[in-house]
């Protein structure tokens, strides 16, 4: 909103990232976010390479979750097949990278794989939205697309299913996917274990800030308006079908980015990324964390995967029971998710703390903390 000089020069920097479409627009919030990022950045230093390796996988999941929160929470499109873009990008990277494992080749692979997932999302989005597919039918259609990929990739074991040197590998998956690298010719960097963690963290933070800026931009308002009431928004001169297509495509690109980072971390990708369990995970994160909160979904993705991981380490057979119950309880008690609920508490607390509130007075930007 308006540049309010009271926060000094930092306010101008913050400005593009703030607005009523995101929770957390106060200095306190940004400070908290900076601390959280710093803590994440310190993980490998504190806990060694292990934390970097495991953490990078979780962060790649978080990107996947964020892509869904973006399209579902901000534009009302629930894609149950977000993993399709995640997996397709992973496979695409593998195919290009295995064939040309040079610095240039790997750079091309990175770009190509994200391009493939983007184009795939755009094509699917065009197919759906311009065909009048809406609501729950979008959800099921995207799920079916993921399942088709699952079924199809599962039987590509034979040698005839190869692109150049890259074997698709059927259920055994595609192994030998090289690490990430960026460069041209002989100049560039190969990104090692530790580097990969920071690249993933950087990608996550950059995507988050990028999406924040986007949802607080004019386009962001158009998205939110489309989510709230598509017909009405068309009456204000917006081409809502196109808006949905763009949002869906961006979501596919982000999921694809997550998929590349995931695949290069594991040096491996297999059809289970398209399976129904994998497909449900982003929906779970967004539901629990709060789909209208990008950070809430990221937090939920990290927390749920971490708890799940700890439960698996403990060898407990109750892990899935716990996760499932958690999901049921959260959705029943907090339909909007954890982060928006916390946000409300924070607002209430602040109002209580300030006995003479001038409630949300124009036009000074609302000060609130959350996430």
């Amino acid at each position: 909103m308006s540049v309010d000089s009271s926060d000094g020069p930092l306010a101008a920097v913050r400005r593009p990232f703030e607005g009523p479409n995101t929770m957390g627009n106060s200095p306190a919030f940004w400070l908290g976010l900076a601390v959280a990022v710093a803590v994440l950045a310190a993980m490998p230093v504190l806990f060694g390479l292990y934390a970097a390796e495991v953490g990078a996988v979780f962060l790649a999941y978080a990107l996947l979750g964020m892509s869904l929160a973006f399209i579902w929470g901000y534009c009302g499109i629930l894609s149950f097949g977000q993993v399709a873009f995640f997996g397709v990008a992973g496979y695409a990277f593998g195919i290009v990278a295995i064939n040309v494992a040079t610095l240039t080749g790997l750079t091309v692979a990175l770009i190509a794989s994200i391009a493939v997932s983007t184009v795939f999302a755009a094509a699917l989005g065009y197919f759906m939205f311009y065909g009048g597919v809406r609501d729950v039918y979008v959800t099921i259609l995207t799920l079916v697309v993921a399942l088709v990929l699952y079924t199809f990739m599962g039987q590509t074991a034979g040698g005839e299913w190869a692109v150049g040197d890259a074997r698709l590998g059927g259920f055994n998956g595609m192994s030998g996917v090289p690490d990430l690298a960026v460069g041209v010719g002989s100049t560039g960097v190969e990104i090692g274990l530790l580097g990969h963690y920071y690249v993933t963290l950087g990608a996550l933070v950059a995507t988050y800030l990028g999406l924040r800026a986007l949802v607080n931009s004019q386009f962001g308002y158009a998205m939110v308006a489309t989510r709230e009431d598509e017909d009405r928004t068309a009456m204000f001169g917006y081409d809502t079908t196109f808006i949905k297509l763009v949002v869906f495509t961006i979501g596919g690109a982000i999921a694809g980015l997550g998929g590349v980072l995931f695949t290069t971390q594991n040096n491996y990708v297999d059809p289970s990324v398209f399976g129904i369990t994998a497909a449900a995970l982003p929906v779970v994160w967004a539901s629990v964390g709060g789909r209208t909160s990008l950070l809430g979904t990221v937090g939920a993705a990290l927390a749920i995967q971490f708890v799940d991981y700890r439960l698996a380490l403990s060898g407990s057979e109750w892990a899935l029971v716990l996760i499932g119950s958690l999901l049921v309880i959260v959705v029943l008690l907090m339909p909007e998710g954890v982060a928006p609920r916390l946000h409300e508490y924070v607002l209430e607390y602040r109002e209580d703390a300030d006995p003479s509130p001038v409630p949300r007075e124009p036009p000074a930007a609302t000060e609130e903390v959350s996430d």
Binding site: G131, L141, L320, G324, V331
Partner: protein
Amino acid sequence: MAGAGLLNFGFEFVEIFAFIVLATVGLAVIFGMMGIINLAHGEFILVGAYATTFAFAAGAPLPLAMLTGVVLTAVYGLVLERLIIRHLYGRLLDSMVVTWGISLVMIQLTRIVFGNTAPGIGIPFGQLPIVDGPVYYLVLAVVAVGVLGGLYALFMWTDFGIRARATMQDEATARSMGVDTDRMYMSTFAVGSGLAGLAGALYAPVMTITPEYGTGFLIEAFVAVVVGGASVLVGTVLASGLLGTVNAAVTNVAGTFMGQVAMLIAAIVAIRLMPDGITGLLADWRENRGEGQ
């Protein structure tokens, strides 16, 4: 040879059609009548299968064992509806998320309680001449048609059916006509659950029963419900017919795998061409013909 080939195709179609119909009806009733997408549908089927197989192992004759499966699943559905599902009416997407959670819990609890396998039931009735398939498949097909007929009778001819349809069309008015709509939802959900249990019971002899048994039904069921659209019976029949034909035809020519892929792709195309399902298309068509208001 052509005759035998045609016969084989026919038999295969019957088999797949029956499977899709039985896998779908329970889900279709719950989705079509109540607007709940039940991702735990497969696990309702699982309840039916486990109840059947354990009742059978305990010495009950097969028909009685199957009946046990149906009844227990209906009761189970009733309990779940009261505890959880009733909070989700009008929250379509939430209902998907919550029922997926339920499905996770049920699969794992089944595993913890019953282990990874359950006792098997042999396929009854022996084999058919000429096409050499089990007679039981024809029985399944007959039951599938019977279920459709029964549902038709239930919803079209009985007071319960009229009230259920009225509730679905206009809850407030139905309530003002003295219908206890809460109870309608409850019993409709129980009927849907019972039908899921029936699928589980009927396929208990054919498919190996494991905690993941239900997932084997899920995809066909979903795809058929969505392709079929909101009208439960017509939608189920048409979608099962369409998908069954595609699957059987392609399987016959290019193998099981291609059959499955072809069916899923047919579903994608169908949803794209008919965003409100087959019955949505029918309704439009009828309206265009000037029968609508």
